[in-house]
Each structure stands twice: as structure tokens, then as C-alpha cells.
Amino acid sequence: MSRNGKYLVIFILSVVVLTPLGLMAQGPAWGEWSPEEIKAMLGYVPESIATTKPLIATLIPDYEIGGLGALASTWVSAIIGVGLVFVVMIGIKKSVKRAS
């Protein structure tokens, strides 16, 4: 691996290790509320927010993995996210090579 590659791996790994710091924020992002939170705020849930189902069921909703604690969930989610980014990027790189 090139020296750049080594530095970059260390860089990404250290950020991944630090992700649980994000758990310190208790509140959701402004506007990204669940139907329950909106109900508590307004006394009703707007129709579309109450009835719209996600197009497909997500694998790891809210970066929480059943059976794992918050800390481990966050690490595993970060690793999965980083892994998927690399898988797609490698795929793109290979498709470029094949085309040329």
C-alpha cells in the first residue's frame, strides 16, 4: 500500500473510532422528527407523515442494531457505511478499467 493509502486508512479508522461522540447529542435534527414527536408537538400528525411508509424496509434503522448496545451499533454502522462506500467506489473504478 502506498504511504498515502496508509495515512488515509489511519485517518478513516480514527474517525470511525470516534463516531460514538455523536451519541452525546440527545435531540434529533430539527425537522427530522418521528410521527410520535410531531404528535407531542402539534397534537396531531399530518396525514402524509402518518401514512407514508418507506419504499423499502431499511436494514439498520437509525444506526441501531438489535441486540447491540448504542456504542457497538454506532461502530458497526460506521464500518458498514464506510465499507459500502468503498465497495461502490471499487466497482466504479473497475467499470472504468473494463471500458478502457
Binding site: 498515502n4 430539527w30 425537522g31 399530518p46 402524509s48 402518518a50 407514508t52 431499511t58 468503498f86 461502490v88
Partner: protein, 222 residues
């Protein structure tokens, strides 16, 4: 800033989806051109970084939170189209696997955080580069990109009460108007998350420059 499913009227997300498709096709082509053996490690690491930095939720007064997006770094190093593609890829993984941002409204999240943030950061950087201190340019580019993206999200969400009211007089989609969304979303990005994006842009660009310089025996073309 990730808009969930059900928050927007189809009148909003259907045209946005139609608009974002050709843009993503261009961004995809530009990204394929940009991926070389030399740039690959940087491009994929910095895209992964954008995924991870979006998990760093920063609590702010008022009980809410937010985060940086890392768009400016990619846009400055690889151009705005590549930045837009890489951030959109991150957003797509977040929506698909983690339910962070709705898939049906993906176009809006991609337009705001991917395209608007990348293009604003890139052109501000281009405009200011060489005129003032490098770290200040990086900070301003990052800050402006995310603030511009937050303005798009605030306008899109704030429009929703005008686009559907049910029989009881309640909004059908996102319930708060522009008078609420602009100060809440744009205000919090001006004061907090823009600063986080600015600092992240500054630090990471400095880091990238440093590792490229220490590796001067090998020419690294970005």
C-alpha cells in the same frame, strides 16, 4: 437536514426526481473520469469520511442536533460534480440501509446537500483562492456550502403547508411554514453546523496537503 419520507408533497419530489436524474448522470460520468489509480484512495476515503462525519451529531441549544457533511472537501479537491456524486452516494447509502433520509425524497436531499453544497463551496473557493489566507478560504467555502444547502432544505420544507391542507385544516405534509423553517434550519447552520463544516474542511484539506507533500517522491495527481 435529511428529509424523511412523507414530509414532502409529490408536487415537490416528483419534479425534483426528474431534475436530479440527468444531473446525477453527468456527475457519475465526471466521477468515472476522476477515478484514477492515484486519486482512488483519496476519493473513496473522503467519501467514506463524509458518511462518518454525518454521524457526528452536534447538540445545539433548543434540544436539536446536526452535523457537517464534508461536501466542500470533495468539491474543492475533485470539482463540484464529483463532490455532488460522492455526497449523493453517501446519502443514498444512508437512506437505503439506515433509514436516514427518505428514499422517495432522495432527490431533494441530493440536490441540497450534494449539488448545492458542492457547487457553492467549489465556486467560492475558486473566487477567493489566493486572495486571502488558505485556511480562511477553506473555512468560508465549507461554511457557505452547507448554509446554502440548509437554505434549500428550509425553503422546500417551509413550502409544504401551502401544498396540502386536510378537511380539519391541518397541513398534510411538513407542518411548519417558512417563518419557522428559515430561522430554525438556516439559523442553526449559520451559527453551528456551518462552523463545523468550515473547520472540518480546513483541517482535512490541510491534512491532505500534508500527506501529499510528505510523499513527494511519488507524484500524486488529484
Amino acid at each position: 437536514m435529511h428529509i424523511p419520507d412523507g414530509f414532502l408533497s409529490p408536487v415537490t419530489y416528483i419534479p425534483a426526481t426528474i431534475a436530479v436524474i440527468p444531473l446525477l448522470v453527468i456527475a457519475w460520468k465526471k466521477t468515472k473520469e476522476a477515478i484514477t489509480d492515484e486519486s482512488f484512495a483519496f476519493l473513496s476515503s473522503l467519501t467514506a469520511f463524509s458518511f462518518v462525519i454525518m454521524m457526528f451529531n452536534i447538540p445545539i441549544p433548543g434540544g436539536t442536533s446536526g452535523h457537517a457533511i464534508g461536501a466542500a472537501i470533495l468539491a474543492i479537491l475533485f470539482g463540484p460534480w464529483v463532490g455532488a456524486f460522492c455526497i449523493s452516494l453517501t446519502l443514498f447509502i444512508q437512506a437505503l440501509v439506515f433509514g436516514d433520509g427518505g428514499l422517495s425524497v432522495f432527490a431533494l436531499n441530493s440536490l441540497a446537500m450534494g449539488f448545492v453544497a458542492s457547487f457553492v463551496a467549489f465556486y467560492l473557493h475558486k473566487l477567493l483562492d489566493g486572495r486571502i489566507k488558505k485556511s480562511v478560504v477553506s473555512f468560508v467555502a465549507g461554511w457557505s456550502g452547507i448554509v446554502a444547502a440548509s437554505a434549500v432544505i428550509a425553503v422546500v420544507l417551509g413550502m409544504q403547508p401551502l401544498l396540502g391542507i386536510d378537511a380539519a385544516g391541518h397541513p398534510i405534509y411538513f407542518p411548519f411554514g417558512l417563518n419557522v423553517t428559515i430561522p430554525a434550519i438556516v439559523g442553526s447552520h449559520i451559527l453551528f453546523f456551518g462552523v463545523a463544516e468550515g473547520i472540518a474542511t480546513m483541517l482535512v484539506l490541510r491534512f491532505i496537503e500534508k500527506i501529499k507533500n510528505t510523499n513527494s517522491t511519488k507524484e500524486v495527481a488529484l
